[in-house]
Each structure stands twice: as C-alpha cells, then as structure tokens.
Subunit: 191 residues, 2 copies
DNA sequence: GACAACATGTAATAGGTTACATGATTTA
DNA sequence: TAAATCATGTAACCTATTACATGTTGTC
C-alpha cells in the first residue's frame, strides 16, 4: 500500500480545518522534501473524501476574496486515517536524475559534469535552508513539533547535510577528472 | 524533462547488447536504489525504441531456453541518449512513506512506531549491503567503474550510512517517548 | 512436487502531472 | 501594467505498476 494524496490530506486535516489551497501550502512547507502534490491532485482528492464521508465541507465567503471551501475531518475520516497509517509499510524510494546522470557522466562533456555537481549542491542547500527556516518559524510561533515530527526533520537534516558534505568534498575532484578525460580523447569535440 | 525507462534502457545498452530480461537485472543490480522499473515498462520501452530506430533487435534462439530478443544501440540511439543526458536537469526526489508516518507518529500506538524504526533500519542496512556486495563483485571481476559511477556509489553509501546512523542513535529514544505518551493518554486502548 | 530462473508480452488500472479556464485584489 | 496571492476546478495526458498469460529447465 502506498500513501496517496487523499491520505495525506486527511493527515493535514488532523491539525484543524483547511481549504484545498491551505493544504497545498502545507504540502509545500512541511512535506515538500519527501512528497509533492499539485492542485490537480488535491482538489479531486478532497471532493472524493467528501463523497466518502471522511471529511465535511463548509463553504465560506470572504470579503474581497474568492469563496473558499473549508474541509474538516469526520470521525470516520480519522478512523480511516489511523487504519491506513497502521497498514502502510514504511517505504522510502528515491527517483534521482542526478544519480542517473552521474552513472553516465563518462558520456558527458566535463563542463556538464561540473554543472551537475553545482546544481545539485545548490538544490540541497536550498532544501536544507527551507527546513531550517521552517524550524525557526515554528520555534518563533511556539507551536511545538510532535516528537515524531522533530525526529523526522532532524533525520532529514542530518541526511541532507551528509549528502551535501560528500559532494562538497569530492565533487571538485570528479569535475577535474572528467576534464582530464575529455581533453585526452575524442568523445567530445568541443574547442 | 524526466529520465524515463526508455532513456535508462539506452544507457544500459551503451555497455553492450542486452535483452529486456538482462536490462531488468541491470536495473535491479545497479539502479535499484534510485530507480525502479518492472518488465511491464521495460518491454514496451524496447519495442518503442526499436520502432524509433534508436535500437536494433536481433532474435536469438538458445538450446533449452526460451528465445531472446537482443537489442543493440544504433548511432541514432547513442545521439539521442547524449542529447537527453545533456538536457535533463539533475533532480532528486524522495517519496517516503517512512517520513510521512513519522510525521503522524503521535497518532500511532507506540509499538507501531518502534516497528517502523526497526523496519526502516533493516531496509537501509539491506540496501547498504547490496551496494557493498555490488562493489565487491565488480572488484573481483575487475570491470572497473567509471569515475562518475564510483562517485555515485560512494555518495549513496555515505548518505545511507549517515541516515542509518542517525536512526540507530536516536530511534530508540523516539520509541520510548511514544511509549510514555501512549500509556498516559487514551488515544490507544491496547492492553 | 514445488519453486526459482529464464524469457516475452498485454491489458487494466493507478496515480499522478500539466495546462487550461476563471477571476478578484494587492503589491511592485 | 505586470506579477503575485488568493481560490477552485477540469480534461488531456503520461508514466509506470500489477496482474495475468504462456512455457521450459534446473534445483531443492
């Protein structure tokens, strides 16, 4: 079984009512480094959850703003969430173009390899910063994290930093090596 | 742009001819920790690549074995592969039920949290071992890795070990904390 | 006698993404 | 006046998974 957008929506709603728009923001701010979801999947998910009686919807009109549909978890929804969380195996998959490109780096011009390293490095740094900012924000607002959430975030930070440190230490050597290869054989006709 | 099965198949074929069955094994042995693909995607991919003239197919009958279709990269296929590798941004996404479950650990019974930690730990250890075995196998056969591949594998190992070490060090405390929570409130009626 | 490895393929289904459509208000 | 934020939704598409169908040989 895989955790789908519907289940994650139920999860977000345990923290209180929210609109589809709100939930999207939660996904971006809280789940983004291990789960992505777009409006195109969130809105249909909420519609379906409402049809199944797992959430209820209340329409709210606001001055100078579009109407919003605010969803709240029902008891059935809470039960379904718990049952799903119980039954879901803790998988952890990576889909990485970065690793794949490294695997075929010898087919690429040296400059490209250097760029890949740099781009990955700035991506990782951005992710790390985002998580640190989230922690700072939560600290300031004093809305404490649950122990599991603290563990989750610290594990992610620890892992990401190790990933970054390795690239920072060994990336430049790889780029140089690629440079040496490229200039000495014919696979790339640059210059 | 995303690296799809078709492109990865072209990549595998740069190392020489292979059947769909061979390619599946390569995926399992080499890509498994950052990319998964099943027969249901590999066979159609090869058919399509052949239609596009990016690979050629030769049917080979074997004694006491089913026939195999052996595919080889064409010049057009090699060019297409290089162009795709040039144009593909080095993304790196994680889809993790494990992180998601941690995020909602406070809704789960303590035992379950402990199991999640243990299961993740043995998964990571298995992955690490597989990579180490692959390295040992390659070392024995003396078919050296390209520099990019060595970097890729070492980065993966380094990252996975950091991930594992954090869980090993802090996981037990989380399980204990969950235990304390569960026994003092009503969210779980076990025992 | 059952299961794993060898070998290929299809069809139904799942689970998303992207782009589009709509439209007000605030900010630069 | 251009762009961002707020706000919802649909339709076309993509990509891959799962399960099924088929059959032999070798191993436990």
């Amino acid at each position: 079984m895989t955790l789908d957008v519907k289940t994650l929506c139920l999860g977000v709603l345990t923290q209180g009512e929210a609109s589809g728009y709100d939930i999207k923001k939660q996904f971006e701010q809280v789940f983004s480094y291990f789960y992505v979801a777009s409006f195109g999947s969130i809105y249909p998910a909420l519609t379906q959850l409402a049809r199944e009686g797992l959430v209820v919807c209340r329409e709210e009109s606001q001055p100078n703003r579009p109407d919003r549909k605010v969803y709240a978890l029902t008891e059935a929804g809470r039960e379904r969430l718990l049952a799903t969380l119980q039954a879901t195996p803790p998988r952890h998959r990576i889909r990485s173009e970065f690793y794949a490109l490294l695997h075929f780096a010898h087919l690429l011009p040296a400059r490209r390899v250097g760029e890949l390293i740099d781009e990955r490095l700035s991506d990782v740094n951005r992710t790390i910063e985002e998580i640190e900012n989230m922690l700072a924000r939560l600290g300031a607002e004093d809305c404490g994290l649950e122990p599991g959430q603290r563990f989750e975030v610290e594990l992610a930070l620890h892992t990401l930093r190790a990933h970054r440190d390795f690239i920072q230490k060994n990336g430049p050597a790889l780029a140089r090596e690629a440079q040496a290869n490229t200039s000495s054989d014919l696979q790339y006709s640059g210059t």
